[in-house]
């Protein structure tokens, strides 16, 4: 047991000793004895202070001392929480990135978790697992909702404050791919509320700062106009994009499942699954609508090219990303795993300088962009993660959180002690009154 304010305990002990001393030095009438010369003794009150050889009213003394001890103990704030040695962890696990990323996240979280640690699972909302075990991590189901690290940190700090009462030190471990949309403006300020360590463990994606920007992959023959247009445009997409001008392979499909965008833009006859037109025609214009990807980059303006494109086939059904001037789809996109397959039914003439015009270059650039929708995401750079979630906490924040924590911890026994003190004081009053009546 320890005291939050031990000074009150010392003061209470001193008061109790003082009460005992005063009780032994009670005012009492000294014993009478004959003395013929008593007339020369100065006149004074017959009660005098003298050490009580045989202390009386021991019950009254005990009740008074008990009341003092109870009050001082209540003010001192006794704490009975057992102090557990060692480091405690709050494991914060991101389950928002689907099954593909979950395998790595689950492995890292389970390697960090130890018995007695707290566990917080989060996607768009955070939830602390009650009485967690290592199997609680495995039992968590991955989702595809957008993640919110800020909400997870709030729940984690709450759990860490509770864990701090029984551990010498506590750290928060965040296991996440740290997608760029998972961090927001509040994340850094919420992090500063926790004075201890926050360890950011990236899992489910490669560290961003150590990977080069992936160049656009183009599989085409020599002198391909699309390849030339993209080369002139200097495309460096934010995500992984592969432009296929011939036939798709199983590798392309697997690559798309891992999060890449495979742009199937055949230079020859239509692929299998495409609907060939009975009579080729032309509508002289194609427009790529504003592509809003899952990334945080701003949408590009529509790109339109007016030229006598020959329409030989229609792309397979999917989300339309480009339309002919008559409204028919010119390019569609189908999600595939974590990525997508985009089909472009715009036949580019291999002769002429159409492919070199700025309008076509913009069109090609947008068609060679990353996947639309929520399947594609970009991990925040490591430098951003380390800035938003620094490992060490702020000193002033530590004092604030610590004070709040101690003020609200283990005070539940104080009201009971004060209540017992009131009972003791009432008993003291009754005992004293009864003793006075007996004396009278």
């Amino acid at each position: 047991m320890s005291f939050t304010a031990p000074l009150f305990a010392w003061v209470g002990g001193g008061l109790a000793l003082g009460v005992v001393a005063l009780h032994l030095l009670a005012w009492q009438r000294p014993p009478a004895s004959l003395l013929p010369t008593a007339r020369f003794v100065p006149d004074a009150p017959l009660r005098a202070v003298s050490p009580a050889v045989r202390p009386t009213d021991l019950v009254l003394l005990a009740v008074r001392v008990l009341a003092i001890i109870l009050v001082s103990a209540a003010l001192a704030g006794p704490r009975f929480a057992p102090r557990v040695q060692g480091l405690g962890r709050v494991i914060v696990v991101d389950r928002s990135r689907g099954r593909d990323a979950w395998a790595a996240i689950d492995g890292v979280a389970r390697s960090v978790y130890r018995s007695g640690d707290a566990l917080v699972l989060f996607d768009s909302a955070a939830r602390e697992v009650r009485s967690p075990t290592i199997d609680s991590i495995e039992a968590a189901l991955p989702t595809t909702q957008s993640a919110g690290v800020s909400a997870a940190l709030v729940a984690a700090i709450r759990a860490a404050n509770r864990l701090q009462r029984v551990r010498d030190s506590v750290e928060i471990v965040v296991v996440s791919p740290f997608a760029s949309d998972a961090l927001d403006a509040a994340t850094a300020s919420i992090r500063r509320l926790w004075p201890g360590t926050v360890r950011a463990m990236r899992a489910g994606t490669a560290p961003n700062d150590t990977t080069r920007a992936r160049p656009l992959e183009i599989r085409a023959g020599s002198g391909d106009p699309v390849s030339a247009a993209l080369a002139l445009a200097g495309v460096a997409p934010a995500g992984a994009v592969r432009v296929v001008r011939d036939w798709t392979t199983a590798r392309d499909t697997a690559w798309a499942r891992q999060g890449g965008a495979v742009v199937v833009w055949p230079s020859g006859p239509a692929h299998e699954g495409w609907r060939a037109r009975a009579v080729p025609d032309t509508v002289f214009g194609v427009t790529v609508s504003s592509l809003v990807s899952g990334l945080s980059t701003p949408p590009a303006p529509p790109a339109t090219v007016v030229a006598p494109f020959v329409r030989r086939a229609a792309p397979p059904p999917g989300r339309v990303v480009a339309r002919w001037d008559d409204g028919e789809p010119a390019a569609t996109e189908v999600p595939l795993g974590a990525g997508c397959m985009r089909s472009v039914a715009v036949v580019v003439p291999s002769t002429g300088d159409l492919a070199l015009t700025p309008a076509f270059r913009r069109l090609a650039t947008q068609l060679a962009g990353p996947c639309l929708g929520g399947h594609a995401w970009v991990a925040a750079p490591d430098s951003v993660v380390s800035t938003v979630l620094p490992a060490a906490g702020a000193r002033d924040a530590a004092q604030t959180v610590s004070a709040v924590d101690f003020a609200r911890s283990d005070v539940s026994i104080a009201p009971w002690l004060l209540g017992a003190a009131l009972v003791a004081l009432a008993a003291e009053l009754l005992i004293r009154r009864r003793a006075a009546n007996a004396t009278a």
Binding site: P30, L34, P36, F40, P42, A48
Partner: protein, 222 residues
Amino acid sequence: MSTMLVVDATASMAYPEASLGKWKAACDVAVGLAAVAHTSRDPVGLVIVSGDGMRQLPPRARRGIVGELARALDDITPHGRRPLAPAMSGIRSRIRLAIVSDFLGDADDVRRRAGEVAAAGGEVHAIHIVASEELDPPARSFLAVDPEDATLARPLVAESRGVYLERFAAWRAEVAASWRAEGLSYTVALVSEPVSRVVRRVAGAALGTGRAAASDARRETR
């Protein structure tokens, strides 16, 4: 010259309660003085003043008078309260008067009556009996109760002890000075003191030897 012994047997002489030291010392001094007077073939008488009244033995010079006086004193236990001066009212003028008392009663009246006796040609000796416990009371705190007046009870504690000693010493000095101022013999007899020494001092004063009187004076000064 006839010798009349006036012995105080009031309650204040019954002190200390366990040993009755003051009373025994008074008896011894009285018997010793009677013996000295009887040796000189002077008639010796006795007046005992106690709470019950007075018991008188008129002066006689016959053999065995000292024994009679001693037996009379042995029969008495000091008690009660009664003034000492009335016991001296019937005393003839030319007489040797010895007053054995603690003078805690009507000391002024006694001295005044003794002065009258002396003025009429008599010889007066005052023997002041003082117990050691009165000079040095017990150190423990206690409620001092006057044996002759139960309503007079005062706590004698450490704080009041010094005042008590001062007042008692001042009173003794005042009594001695007042008796001597009237030319009367005054002797202090401590209970712890050998009786023979007291008797010699009183007898010496009776013989008019200045040596004994001077010795008394020095003793009182101390």
